[in-house]
């Protein structure tokens, strides 16, 4: 087959995460058989899984948080006994920066003092003081000159885990051949997002949630992914379902507490039917009742292994429930599973998912014919996501639509790393850049995830920050590379004359690299 560099850009940038530099030959391979290049990954469903040394299961990580919280508590009590100053406003309401700092610093000091005693009690960590720092609040005040900066605080188990998970994901994204399935992982992870900023459990579970609930089903069935997501402790925590009690359940009666409809609403609005998908407020409340009792086992383990999904029959609302016109008999956990299975194959779900996929992979304004085709594939295959992905690759629209979508910040940093053929060893720089560009990893502002439109990512301030970041990369790495070689890897003869000329005429290799990373060929997909 003739080489088609323009189609290679579609294969590499629209479907994948960009061409890898070095000896990968990605562009040439993609240009010879663009569709085959993309589809190759679809035949390796196990390749989507992410297993690496040091990555732990959700229950293990939950237990690590419980142990960490116990240690913090002990440290606080020890400090109080020792007469150290203790200012402890309620955890959700630190009243001001300074008291917050003081509290944590004194906490840390106390922790260090007694660290020796605890070293042996700790299950997962060999360095005693490591688990005591608190995220975000431990850093010295900005006003302090950098020279006077004290030694950085060691990371606690939550921060460490977050970075380990981030690194594993970034390495996979950098190394993988095309990146289509990794793109699908990121898409589904954002569709079913949680936010690490919800709290310590969400932060430590963010990576495990994706590995356990998303990856196994990216080329599987939507209904299976839906069930895995809604029963994952991270999601139950993120959308408060562990607090929701059936008003007539034993726990609800005893504790005089009741429903929280947060998760139920977002299941229908954001995960399946979509807004306007044909459900009412009554349906939201009904689903909330149906999934009461869906929780995770706490530190005492009364409901099962601490940190694992649990169905708490004592919190479950008794009786049949009517949802979307159908009655669900009181079958305990099975009641909710039956409801989810039906919602998963609802026509509105097919439409919602098809629309979002086409928006992500083709255009902000999704071509309706392609949406309709995907909707049919979803309906006919009972939500087979591999069939959906294949239909996208087989479509003409995906290959003909101009490359006008803006790379998201995550796309941008990953594509840059791939082109520069640098395997990340420390996630810190990536995480900082994602924060700067408004897409902090696994931490969207709301349960609707990060936006997926060009308008959101091509804003003035965002573009300027991208340039600043590209200039930093150029300054640091430009010395050792030939930007024109990189341009060959990235776009070859699909590069515009203007881009090529701009790079050729740059005043330095550093500048040339910055301009290449910012070129339309690297920014659009």
């Amino acid at each position: 087959m003739a080489r088609d560099s323009q189609a290679a850009l579609v294969a590499l940038n629209r479907f994948g995460f960009g061409a890898r530099g070095g000896a990968s030959g990605d562009l040439i391979n993609a240009a010879s058989d663009p569709r085959g290049f993309v589809k190759a990954e679809l035949s390796r469903p196990n390749g989507v899984l992410l297993e690496a040394p040091g990555l732990q299961s959700t229950p293990q990580l939950g237990q690590a948080v419980f142990a960490y919280q116990d240690q913090v508590k002990q440290a606080r009590e020890a400090a109080a006994k020792a007469g150290a100053p203790t200012e402890a406003p309620p955890p959700q309401a630190p009243s001001d920066q300074k008291p917050g700092l003081r509290r944590n610093l004194s906490l840390n000091a106390a922790a260090t003092e007694i660290a020796g005693q605890m070293a042996e009690a700790k299950p997962t960590d060999s360095k005693p003081a490591d688990t005591m720092a608190k995220p975000d609040t431990m850093q010295p005040n900005m006003a302090a000159p950098p020279a006077a900066k004290p030694a950085p605080q060691p990371l606690n188990v939550i921060q460490k885990t977050f970075r380990t998970e981030a690194l594993a994901r970034l390495q996979r994204a950098t190394l993988v051949e095309c990146g289509f399935t990794e793109r699908l992982v990121v898409f589904w992870s954002n569709h079913f997002c949680i936010s690490a900023s919800k709290g310590e459990l969400a932060r430590i579970w963010a990576g495990a949630f994706e590995r356990e609930a998303i990856r196994p089903h990216v080329l599987g069935r939507f209904a299976d992914m839906l069930k895995a997501v809604e029963q994952h402790p991270a999601m139950l925590f993120f959308l408060d379902n562990q607090q929701s009690l059936g008003p007539d359940s034993r726990a609800g009666q005893n504790r005089k507490r009741g429903l929280n409809e947060n998760l139920a609403r977002e299941i229908m609005e954001l995960h399946t039917l979509g807004v306007g998908g044909g459900y009412t407020q009554e349906d939201v409340t009904s689903l909330a009742r149906i999934i009461t009792g869906w929780t995770f086992a706490g530190r005492q383990g009364g409901l099962g292994t601490p940190g694992s999904f649990a169905f708490n029959v004592n919190a479950h609302q008794p009786g049949p429930q009517v949802l979307l016109g159908r009655t669900y008999e009181p079958t305990g956990l099975a009641q909710g599973e039956a409801a989810l299975a039906d919602i998963a194959r609802h026509p509105s779900t097919a439409n919602f998912i098809a629309t979002k996929l086409v928006r992500h992979l083709v255009a902000d304004d999704p071509p309706q014919a392609l949406v309709a085709r995907l909707r049919d594939v979803f309906a006919k295959t009972d939500g087979d996501l591999k069939a959906m992905a294949t239909a996208l690759v087989d479509s003409d629209e995906a290959w003909k639509a101009p490359l006008t979508k803006m790379r998201s910040p995550y796309d941008f940093v990953v594509a840059s790393g791939r082109l520069l053929a640098r395997v990340p060893e420390d996630p810190g720089g990536y995480l900082n850049n994602l924060n700067l560009l408004g897409q902090p990893l696994w931490s969207p502002a709301g349960p609707n995830g990060f936006p997926d439109t060009t308008a959101a990512w091509a804003a003035p301030e965002g573009m300027k920050l991208r340039l600043d970041i590209a200039a930093q990369m150029g300054a640091r790495l430009g010395n050792n590379i030939d930007p024109l070689d990189l341009l060959e890897f990235a776009a070859a003869d699909a590069a515009s004359i203007e881009t090529r000329r701009t790079i050729e005429r740059a005043e330095s290799r550093q500048q040339a690299l910055a301009l290449l990373l910012m070129s339309p060929e690297m920014q659009r997909r």
Partner: protein, 405 residues
């Protein structure tokens, strides 16, 4: 590779800042800004994302059903943390002493039982309606504030920008150019590189050329030392963003019209009463209003700050000492130009039969009327422009008169 940012500390803090708040401003001065009468109006729109519980912000303590419905989190005019009585019926949350002072000075007002035309309970559609100014949710890519700007006579370009974070809030997105600024600790690309890239974009990608050019123009005034974000917590960040916005807007050549958004108001569980989570956030908002007042100095006299949210929350607390998505809520106005000292409300009552769908405070005032009243009072926009362009198909929501002194 991308671990190129030397100062992790600064940038990660900035990331935090942007995570909790963002703002943007119009790139031009209104032409009448320096007109002979000396009035130089400023407008700041604050969007509270997540749906503010209006019944906990300005509590109808005089309504016999309020305490029962709001249960464990209800405010009261007595007790350890008494709410601040605004009149004989409504009481302000005790976390807002600065707003209370402005109210007493007649520079702050409350509009209660207010809602946009949106009647479902999705945050995202609700925010779309609130910010787009259209009667229903849709994929509109422009906001009412931007369209209001298009109707204003355009004067000089502002020389100091402010804003945004990497994204512009929908309310200010659209054809009228906006500027952005964010407190940057990252070393910046040099001008030559930037100009070469703008040149490339001009030839190959005009949309990116425009975005990047705007992004490059900003800064200066805002980049003073005290503009660097200090806060590690959300309240400090809210104050910080407000202080930065006020500093830029106080300048003679600074922006006159800006929008910012604060996240985090979705209080489904453990919302808290006089103290607790919502109290904490309201304290941050109160602090931000105080920062606007002090930072704008003389200009506060001509300023209106509008605080609005996508919808309210259930009148009755849910099973987890929080509130679920509801309908009507409050809008707040603050500023020297506000004809304040009033709670404006056609109070619907909280009897079950009076609640919207037997669960939410019933809307009796259209939020668009409030905003139209402010836009008319501050900038003299006509009824027609407001009803057709700024808020399409909104003729029935007449501008509220007399909000601006």
């Amino acid at each position: 590779m991308i671990d190129c940012v030397e100062n992790r500390l600064l940038t990660s803090r900035r990331g935090l800042l942007l995570g909790g708040a963002s703002f943007a401003a119009w790139a031009y001065l209104p032409k009448f800004a320096r007109a002979a009468d000396g009035r130089d109006p400023r407008l700041i729109v604050v969007i509270l994302r997540g749906a503010l519980d209006g019944l906990s912000t300005v509590a109808p303590v005089g309504d016999p059903d309020y305490a029962g419905l709001h249960g464990s989190i209800a405010l009261a005019s007595d007790g350890a943390h008494p709410a601040i009585m605004l009149d004989s019926f409504f009481a302000l949350h005790p976390a807002m002493p600065e707003f209370a002072r402005m109210y007493r000075d007649k520079h702050a007002a409350v509009i209660h039982a207010v809602a946009t035309p949106y009647r479902d309970r999705s945050h995202f559609d609700g925010q779309d309606v609130l910010e787009s100014g259209y009667a229903g949710p849709g994929r509109v890519q422009s906001g009412w504030l931007n369209r209001a700007l298009e109707a204003l006579p355009r004067g000089e370009r502002v020389s100091s920008g402010l804003a945004v974070g990497p994204t512009t809030p929908l309310v200010l997105r659209g054809n009228a150019p906006t500027v952005g600024w964010a407190p940057v600790a990252l070393p910046q690309a040099d001008d030559d590189t930037a100009m070469r890239l703008v040149d490339l974009y001009r030839h190959r990608d005009p949309a990116l050329a425009m975005a990047l050019s705007q992004g490059l123009q900003l800064d200066k005034v805002a980049s003073g030392d005290d503009m660097k974000p200090k806060g590690g917590n959300q309240v400090a960040q809210m104050r910080q963003v407000a202080r930065g916005a006020a500093k830029l807007m106080a300048a003679d050549d600074g922006p006159r019209i800006a929008a910012l958004a604060f996240d985090g108001w979705d209080t489904h569980a453990n919302e808290g009463g006089p103290v607790g989570r919502l109290a904490f956030l309201l304290g941050g908002l109160d602090g931000a209003l105080a920062e606007f007042e002090s930072g704008l100095g003389e200009r506060w006299r001509d300023t209106v700050v509008v605080v609005a949210t996508e919808f309210g929350r259930t009148a009755r607390i849910n099973g987890t000492d929080g509130t679920d998505h509801g309908t009507a809520t409050v809008a707040l106005l603050a500023g020297g130009a506000v004809k304040g000292g009033r709670v404006i409300s056609d109070w619907p009552g909280l009897k079950l039969a009076n609640l919207y769908e037997a669960r939410d405070l019933k809307p009796t005032t259209d939020l668009r009327s409030v905003i139209k009243g402010v836009l008319q009072g501050q900038f003299g926009l006509s009824d027609r422009v407001l009803a057709e362009t700024v808020f399409p198909d909104s003729a029935s929501a007449r501008p509220m008169k007399g909000l601006v002194a």
